[in-house]
Protein backbone atom coordinates (compact mmCIF):
# COMPACT_ATOMS: atom_id res chain seq x y z
CA UNK A 1 0.00 0.00 0.00
CA UNK A 2 1.22 3.51 -0.83
CA UNK A 3 2.36 5.68 2.07
CA UNK A 4 -0.26 8.30 1.18
CA UNK A 5 -3.02 5.69 1.52
CA UNK A 6 -1.68 4.54 4.91
CA UNK A 7 -1.66 8.15 6.11
CA UNK A 8 -5.23 8.52 4.89
CA UNK A 9 -6.16 5.54 7.05
CA UNK A 10 -4.50 7.22 10.04
CA UNK A 11 -6.48 10.37 9.35
CA UNK A 12 -9.65 8.27 9.12
CA UNK A 13 -8.69 6.77 12.53
CA UNK A 14 -8.82 3.29 11.03
CA UNK A 15 -6.86 0.65 12.92
CA UNK A 16 -6.09 -0.85 9.53
CA UNK A 17 -3.45 1.91 9.32
CA UNK A 18 -1.38 0.17 12.02
CA UNK A 19 -1.69 -3.21 10.31
CA UNK A 20 -0.61 -1.72 6.96
CA UNK A 21 2.25 0.15 8.61
CA UNK A 22 3.44 -3.02 10.31
CA UNK A 23 3.08 -5.03 7.13
CA UNK A 24 5.12 -2.54 5.13
CA UNK A 25 7.74 -1.32 7.62
CA UNK A 26 7.53 -3.69 10.58
CA UNK A 27 10.67 -5.56 9.67
CA UNK A 28 12.93 -2.52 9.44
CA UNK A 29 11.39 -1.06 12.62
CA UNK A 30 12.03 -4.26 14.54
CA UNK A 31 15.58 -4.45 13.21
CA UNK A 32 16.36 -0.91 14.42
CA UNK A 33 14.96 -1.62 17.87
CA UNK A 34 16.60 -5.02 18.22
CA UNK A 35 20.01 -3.63 17.22
CA UNK A 36 19.71 -1.18 20.11
CA UNK A 37 18.16 -3.43 22.75
CA UNK A 38 19.42 -6.89 21.81
CA UNK A 39 16.18 -8.33 23.19
CA UNK A 40 13.23 -9.68 21.20
CA UNK A 41 10.53 -8.81 23.71
CA UNK A 42 11.82 -5.29 24.36
CA UNK A 43 12.17 -4.69 20.63
CA UNK A 44 8.61 -5.81 19.95
CA UNK A 45 7.29 -3.61 22.74
CA UNK A 46 9.22 -0.60 21.47
CA UNK A 47 7.93 -1.11 17.94
CA UNK A 48 4.38 -1.32 19.28
CA UNK A 49 4.98 1.83 21.33
CA UNK A 50 6.26 3.49 18.17
CA UNK A 51 3.09 2.51 16.32
CA UNK A 52 1.07 4.05 19.13
CA UNK A 53 3.24 7.17 18.89
CA UNK A 54 2.61 7.29 15.17
CA UNK A 55 -1.14 6.87 15.78
CA UNK A 56 -1.07 9.84 18.17
CA UNK A 57 1.05 11.98 15.84
CA UNK A 58 -0.98 11.40 12.66
CA UNK A 59 -3.06 13.53 12.48
CA UNK A 60 -2.22 16.34 12.75
CA UNK A 61 1.15 15.51 11.24
CA UNK A 62 1.36 14.28 7.67
CA UNK A 63 4.92 12.95 7.47
CA UNK A 64 6.73 12.56 4.22
CA UNK A 65 8.55 10.25 4.02
CA UNK A 66 6.55 8.05 6.37
CA UNK A 67 9.32 5.48 6.73
CA UNK A 68 11.88 7.92 8.12
CA UNK A 69 9.23 9.31 10.47
CA UNK A 70 8.40 5.90 11.92
CA UNK A 71 12.04 4.81 12.05
CA UNK A 72 12.93 7.90 14.08
CA UNK A 73 10.16 7.19 16.57
CA UNK A 74 11.28 3.58 16.90
CA UNK A 75 14.89 4.62 17.38
CA UNK A 76 14.08 7.28 19.97
CA UNK A 77 11.82 4.98 21.99
CA UNK A 78 14.37 2.17 21.84
CA UNK A 79 17.20 4.45 22.96
CA UNK A 80 15.06 5.74 25.85
CA UNK A 81 14.32 2.14 26.86
CA UNK A 82 18.00 1.35 26.60
CA UNK A 83 18.92 4.28 28.85
CA UNK A 84 16.29 3.56 31.48
CA UNK A 85 17.03 -0.12 31.66
CA UNK A 86 20.34 0.35 33.43
CA UNK A 87 20.41 -3.27 34.55
CA UNK A 88 20.49 -4.41 30.97
CA UNK A 89 23.58 -6.20 29.85
CA UNK A 90 25.27 -3.80 27.45
CA UNK A 91 26.11 -6.00 24.52
CA UNK A 92 23.87 -4.87 21.70
CA UNK A 93 25.07 -3.75 18.29
CA UNK A 94 24.13 -0.24 19.41
CA UNK A 95 26.51 -0.49 22.39
CA UNK A 96 29.35 -1.65 20.21
CA UNK A 97 28.74 1.10 17.64
CA UNK A 98 28.53 3.75 20.37
CA UNK A 99 31.73 2.56 22.02
CA UNK A 100 33.46 2.98 18.65
CA UNK A 101 32.24 6.52 18.23
CA UNK A 102 33.03 7.39 21.87
CA UNK A 103 36.70 6.90 21.13
CA UNK A 104 36.36 9.22 18.16
CA UNK A 105 34.60 12.04 19.97
CA UNK A 106 36.42 11.78 23.27
CA UNK A 107 38.38 14.94 24.02
CA UNK A 108 39.91 16.38 27.18
CA UNK A 109 38.11 19.64 26.54
CA UNK A 110 34.93 20.27 24.61
CA UNK A 111 32.43 23.04 24.10
CA UNK A 112 29.69 20.61 25.00
CA UNK A 113 27.99 22.91 27.46
CA UNK A 114 27.00 25.30 24.72
CA UNK A 115 26.33 22.65 22.11
CA UNK A 116 22.85 21.30 21.62
CA UNK A 117 21.94 18.13 19.80
CA UNK A 118 20.26 20.06 17.00
CA UNK A 119 23.34 22.22 16.40
CA UNK A 120 25.55 19.16 16.41
CA UNK A 121 23.15 17.46 13.99
CA UNK A 122 23.61 20.29 11.50
CA UNK A 123 27.40 19.93 11.78
CA UNK A 124 27.19 16.15 11.30
CA UNK A 125 24.94 16.73 8.26
CA UNK A 126 27.56 19.01 6.71
CA UNK A 127 30.17 16.34 7.41
CA UNK A 128 27.96 13.67 5.81
CA UNK A 129 27.67 15.84 2.73
CA UNK A 130 31.45 15.62 2.28
CA UNK A 131 31.33 11.80 2.09
CA UNK A 132 30.69 9.62 -0.92
CA UNK A 133 27.23 8.07 -1.07
CA UNK A 134 28.59 4.65 -0.13
CA UNK A 135 30.51 5.96 2.88
CA UNK A 136 27.53 8.05 3.99
CA UNK A 137 25.30 4.98 3.85
CA UNK A 138 27.89 2.90 5.75
CA UNK A 139 28.12 5.58 8.46
CA UNK A 140 24.34 5.85 8.79
CA UNK A 141 23.82 2.11 8.82
CA UNK A 142 26.38 1.77 11.59
CA UNK A 143 25.58 4.77 13.80
CA UNK A 144 21.90 5.40 13.08
CA UNK A 145 20.59 1.90 12.42
CA UNK A 146 23.27 0.24 14.62
CA UNK A 147 23.79 -2.42 11.95
CA UNK A 148 26.57 -4.94 12.46
CA UNK A 149 29.52 -5.09 10.07
CA UNK A 150 28.02 -8.28 8.65
CA UNK A 151 24.70 -6.52 7.95
CA UNK A 152 26.44 -3.59 6.25
CA UNK A 153 28.62 -5.98 4.27
CA UNK A 154 25.51 -7.77 3.03
CA UNK A 155 23.86 -4.49 2.07
CA UNK A 156 26.79 -2.87 0.31
CA UNK A 157 28.69 -5.85 -1.05
CA UNK A 158 31.92 -4.77 0.61
CA UNK A 159 33.78 -7.23 2.80
CA UNK A 160 33.50 -6.84 6.56
CA UNK A 161 37.17 -5.87 6.70
CA UNK A 162 36.58 -3.21 4.07
CA UNK A 163 33.66 -1.90 6.12
CA UNK A 164 35.87 -1.82 9.21
CA UNK A 165 38.63 0.09 7.40
CA UNK A 166 36.16 2.54 5.89
CA UNK A 167 34.47 3.19 9.25
CA UNK A 168 37.84 3.81 10.90
CA UNK A 169 38.68 6.37 8.24
CA UNK A 170 35.25 7.98 8.45
CA UNK A 171 35.52 8.28 12.24
CA UNK A 172 38.96 9.86 11.89
CA UNK A 173 37.57 12.27 9.31
CA UNK A 174 34.63 13.06 11.58
CA UNK A 175 36.93 13.79 14.49
CA UNK A 176 39.04 16.12 12.31
CA UNK A 177 35.87 17.79 11.07
CA UNK A 178 34.57 18.30 14.62
CA UNK A 179 37.91 19.82 15.62
CA UNK A 180 37.81 22.11 12.59
CA UNK A 181 34.26 23.16 13.48
CA UNK A 182 35.33 23.92 17.04
CA UNK A 183 33.19 21.17 18.59
CA UNK A 184 36.23 19.33 19.88
CA UNK A 185 39.15 21.37 21.15
Amino acid sequence: MEDERIIELFFARSEQAIRELDSKYGKVCYSISYNILNNNLDAEECVNDAYLGTWNAIPPQKPNPLLAFVCKIVRNISIMRHRTNTAMKRNSSFDVAISEIEQCIAAPETVEESLEAKSLARIIERFLDTLTEENRVIFMRRYWFSDSYADISKLTGFTEKNISVRLTRIRNSLRNYLVKEGVLL
Binding site: A68, A106, E112, R136, R141, F145, V165
Partner: protein, 204 residues
Protein backbone atom coordinates in the same frame (compact mmCIF):
# COMPACT_ATOMS: atom_id res chain seq x y z
CA UNK B 1 31.22 15.49 23.96
CA UNK B 2 29.65 12.30 25.17
CA UNK B 3 27.91 9.44 23.45
CA UNK B 4 24.46 10.61 24.56
CA UNK B 5 24.86 13.99 22.86
CA UNK B 6 26.08 12.24 19.72
CA UNK B 7 23.15 9.81 19.79
CA UNK B 8 20.69 12.65 20.32
CA UNK B 9 22.25 14.58 17.45
CA UNK B 10 21.95 11.54 15.18
CA UNK B 11 18.23 11.47 16.02
CA UNK B 12 17.98 15.04 14.72
CA UNK B 13 19.49 14.33 11.31
CA UNK B 14 17.47 15.24 8.28
CA UNK B 15 15.20 12.47 6.97
CA UNK B 16 17.04 12.41 3.66
CA UNK B 17 20.07 10.71 5.27
CA UNK B 18 17.84 8.06 6.85
CA UNK B 19 16.01 7.45 3.59
CA UNK B 20 19.24 7.26 1.62
CA UNK B 21 20.56 4.61 4.01
CA UNK B 22 17.34 2.63 4.15
CA UNK B 23 16.75 2.59 0.41
CA UNK B 24 20.36 2.05 -0.65
CA UNK B 25 20.87 -0.45 -3.45
CA UNK B 26 24.31 -1.79 -4.08
CA UNK B 27 25.85 -0.77 -7.36
CA UNK B 28 25.63 -3.28 -10.17
CA UNK B 29 28.83 -5.05 -10.99
CA UNK B 30 30.64 -3.65 -14.02
CA UNK B 31 32.62 -5.85 -16.38
CA UNK B 32 36.33 -6.31 -15.95
CA UNK B 33 36.99 -4.29 -19.04
CA UNK B 34 35.36 -1.30 -17.37
CA UNK B 35 37.58 -1.18 -14.38
CA UNK B 36 40.66 -2.21 -16.26
CA UNK B 37 40.19 0.90 -18.34
CA UNK B 38 40.26 2.92 -15.16
CA UNK B 39 43.72 1.98 -14.03
CA UNK B 40 44.62 5.63 -13.85
CA UNK B 41 42.19 6.00 -10.97
CA UNK B 42 43.70 3.43 -8.68
CA UNK B 43 46.68 3.49 -6.43
CA UNK B 44 48.81 1.45 -8.72
CA UNK B 45 52.43 0.52 -8.96
CA UNK B 46 53.59 0.75 -12.54
CA UNK B 47 56.53 -1.20 -13.77
CA UNK B 48 58.75 0.67 -16.15
CA UNK B 49 61.23 -0.97 -18.42
CA UNK B 50 64.69 0.53 -18.14
CA UNK B 51 65.37 3.85 -16.47
CA UNK B 52 65.14 6.18 -19.41
CA UNK B 53 61.56 7.23 -18.81
CA UNK B 54 62.24 9.30 -15.75
CA UNK B 55 64.83 11.97 -15.19
CA UNK B 56 65.56 13.03 -11.65
CA UNK B 57 68.49 13.90 -9.47
CA UNK B 58 70.92 11.08 -8.97
CA UNK B 59 73.08 12.89 -6.44
CA UNK B 60 71.72 10.90 -3.54
CA UNK B 61 72.49 7.56 -5.06
CA UNK B 62 76.15 7.63 -3.98
CA UNK B 63 77.88 4.33 -3.77
CA UNK B 64 75.00 2.09 -2.83
CA UNK B 65 73.94 -1.36 -3.78
CA UNK B 66 70.32 -2.32 -3.50
CA UNK B 67 66.82 -0.94 -3.96
CA UNK B 68 66.56 2.82 -3.51
CA UNK B 69 63.47 4.97 -3.25
CA UNK B 70 63.41 8.53 -4.56
CA UNK B 71 60.56 10.97 -4.54
CA UNK B 72 59.55 12.37 -7.89
CA UNK B 73 56.68 14.86 -7.90
CA UNK B 74 53.67 12.89 -6.63
CA UNK B 75 55.11 9.41 -6.76
CA UNK B 76 57.99 7.39 -5.43
CA UNK B 77 60.38 5.72 -7.81
CA UNK B 78 61.97 2.47 -6.73
CA UNK B 79 65.09 1.64 -8.66
CA UNK B 80 68.00 -0.68 -8.15
CA UNK B 81 71.36 0.93 -7.53
CA UNK B 82 74.32 -1.14 -8.59
CA UNK B 83 74.66 -4.10 -10.83
CA UNK B 84 72.81 -7.16 -9.67
CA UNK B 85 73.96 -10.20 -11.49
CA UNK B 86 70.85 -12.32 -11.87
CA UNK B 87 71.22 -15.25 -14.19
CA UNK B 88 68.02 -17.10 -13.45
CA UNK B 89 65.52 -14.76 -11.77
CA UNK B 90 63.03 -16.53 -9.52
CA UNK B 91 59.28 -16.43 -10.07
CA UNK B 92 56.92 -15.79 -7.18
CA UNK B 93 53.28 -16.20 -6.31
CA UNK B 94 50.95 -15.35 -3.45
CA UNK B 95 50.50 -18.22 -1.02
CA UNK B 96 47.42 -16.67 0.57
CA UNK B 97 44.89 -13.97 -0.18
CA UNK B 98 41.38 -13.20 1.10
CA UNK B 99 38.90 -15.75 -0.20
CA UNK B 100 36.80 -13.13 -2.00
CA UNK B 101 39.68 -12.32 -4.38
CA UNK B 102 39.37 -13.68 -7.89
CA UNK B 103 42.23 -14.11 -10.32
CA UNK B 104 41.83 -12.08 -13.52
CA UNK B 105 45.06 -12.16 -15.46
CA UNK B 106 48.82 -12.12 -15.23
CA UNK B 107 51.65 -11.10 -17.47
CA UNK B 108 55.41 -11.04 -17.50
CA UNK B 109 57.37 -7.81 -17.40
CA UNK B 110 61.02 -7.18 -18.23
CA UNK B 111 62.11 -8.01 -14.71
CA UNK B 112 59.25 -9.91 -13.11
CA UNK B 113 55.52 -10.54 -13.25
CA UNK B 114 52.22 -8.81 -12.54
CA UNK B 115 49.14 -10.62 -11.22
CA UNK B 116 45.76 -8.94 -11.34
CA UNK B 117 42.86 -9.97 -9.14
CA UNK B 118 39.52 -8.46 -8.29
CA UNK B 119 36.85 -8.86 -5.64
CA UNK B 120 33.07 -8.56 -5.44
CA UNK B 121 33.41 -4.75 -5.47
CA UNK B 122 35.60 -4.85 -8.57
CA UNK B 123 38.58 -3.50 -6.71
CA UNK B 124 41.71 -3.76 -8.81
CA UNK B 125 44.05 -5.91 -6.72
CA UNK B 126 47.61 -6.24 -7.90
CA UNK B 127 50.55 -8.39 -6.89
CA UNK B 128 53.79 -7.70 -8.72
CA UNK B 129 57.47 -8.25 -8.22
CA UNK B 130 60.80 -7.47 -9.85
CA UNK B 131 63.28 -10.27 -9.41
CA UNK B 132 65.63 -9.08 -12.14
CA UNK B 133 66.26 -5.56 -10.87
CA UNK B 134 68.58 -4.50 -13.68
CA UNK B 135 65.70 -4.39 -16.09
CA UNK B 136 62.96 -2.46 -14.31
CA UNK B 137 61.97 0.35 -12.04
CA UNK B 138 58.63 0.74 -10.34
CA UNK B 139 56.81 3.80 -9.15
CA UNK B 140 54.09 4.23 -6.58
CA UNK B 141 51.77 7.21 -6.40
CA UNK B 142 51.87 8.76 -2.93
CA UNK B 143 49.54 11.77 -3.15
CA UNK B 144 48.96 12.46 0.54
CA UNK B 145 49.18 8.77 1.40
CA UNK B 146 49.88 7.81 4.98
CA UNK B 147 53.05 5.76 5.20
CA UNK B 148 53.45 3.00 7.77
CA UNK B 149 56.76 1.24 8.31
CA UNK B 150 56.32 -2.49 8.89
CA UNK B 151 58.30 -5.66 8.34
CA UNK B 152 57.53 -8.63 6.12
CA UNK B 153 59.36 -11.75 7.27
CA UNK B 154 61.93 -9.41 8.88
CA UNK B 155 62.41 -7.44 5.67
CA UNK B 156 61.62 -3.69 5.69
CA UNK B 157 58.27 -2.74 4.16
CA UNK B 158 56.08 0.31 3.68
CA UNK B 159 52.31 0.37 3.67
CA UNK B 160 50.68 3.28 1.87
CA UNK B 161 47.19 4.25 3.00
CA UNK B 162 45.56 6.48 0.42
CA UNK B 163 43.40 9.34 1.73
CA UNK B 164 41.19 8.91 -1.32
CA UNK B 165 38.54 6.22 -0.87
CA UNK B 166 38.48 5.61 -4.60
CA UNK B 167 42.12 4.65 -4.64
CA UNK B 168 43.54 1.44 -3.30
CA UNK B 169 46.27 1.15 -0.69
CA UNK B 170 49.54 -0.67 -1.14
CA UNK B 171 52.50 -2.39 0.46
CA UNK B 172 56.03 -2.38 -0.95
CA UNK B 173 58.88 -4.45 0.40
CA UNK B 174 62.20 -5.85 -0.66
CA UNK B 175 63.67 -9.24 -0.02
CA UNK B 176 67.22 -8.32 0.94
CA UNK B 177 68.49 -11.83 0.31
CA UNK B 178 67.36 -12.02 -3.30
CA UNK B 179 67.14 -8.28 -4.12
CA UNK B 180 63.54 -8.74 -5.18
CA UNK B 181 61.06 -5.89 -4.90
CA UNK B 182 57.43 -6.81 -4.21
CA UNK B 183 54.24 -4.80 -4.37
CA UNK B 184 50.62 -5.52 -3.46
CA UNK B 185 47.73 -3.08 -3.82
CA UNK B 186 44.08 -3.31 -2.87
CA UNK B 187 41.59 -2.29 -0.19
CA UNK B 188 43.03 -4.25 2.72
CA UNK B 189 43.83 -3.49 6.31
CA UNK B 190 47.39 -3.58 7.59
CA UNK B 191 47.12 -7.09 9.00
CA UNK B 192 45.82 -8.49 5.71
CA UNK B 193 48.51 -6.75 3.68
CA UNK B 194 51.23 -8.23 5.88
CA UNK B 195 49.65 -11.68 5.85
CA UNK B 196 49.48 -11.63 2.06
CA UNK B 197 53.05 -10.32 1.81
CA UNK B 198 54.42 -12.95 4.16
CA UNK B 199 52.69 -15.69 2.18
CA UNK B 200 54.60 -14.90 -1.02
CA UNK B 201 56.58 -17.93 -2.07
CA UNK B 202 58.80 -18.97 -4.91
CA UNK B 203 57.01 -20.90 -7.62
CA UNK B 204 57.87 -24.55 -7.75
Amino acid sequence: MNAQLFTDAMSELNDKYVMEAVSYQRKSKPHFSTWLSKVACVFLAVLLTGSAVLTFSVEARAAFFGWVREQYENFYVYFFEGDASVTDPAKYELGWMPENCVFVTSYETAGGEVYIYTDERDTLIQFSYISDPNNENTYVEHNGAQEIKVTVNDHPAEIFISPDEDKTDGIVWTDLDTNTLFFISGHFDQETFIRMAESVKEKE
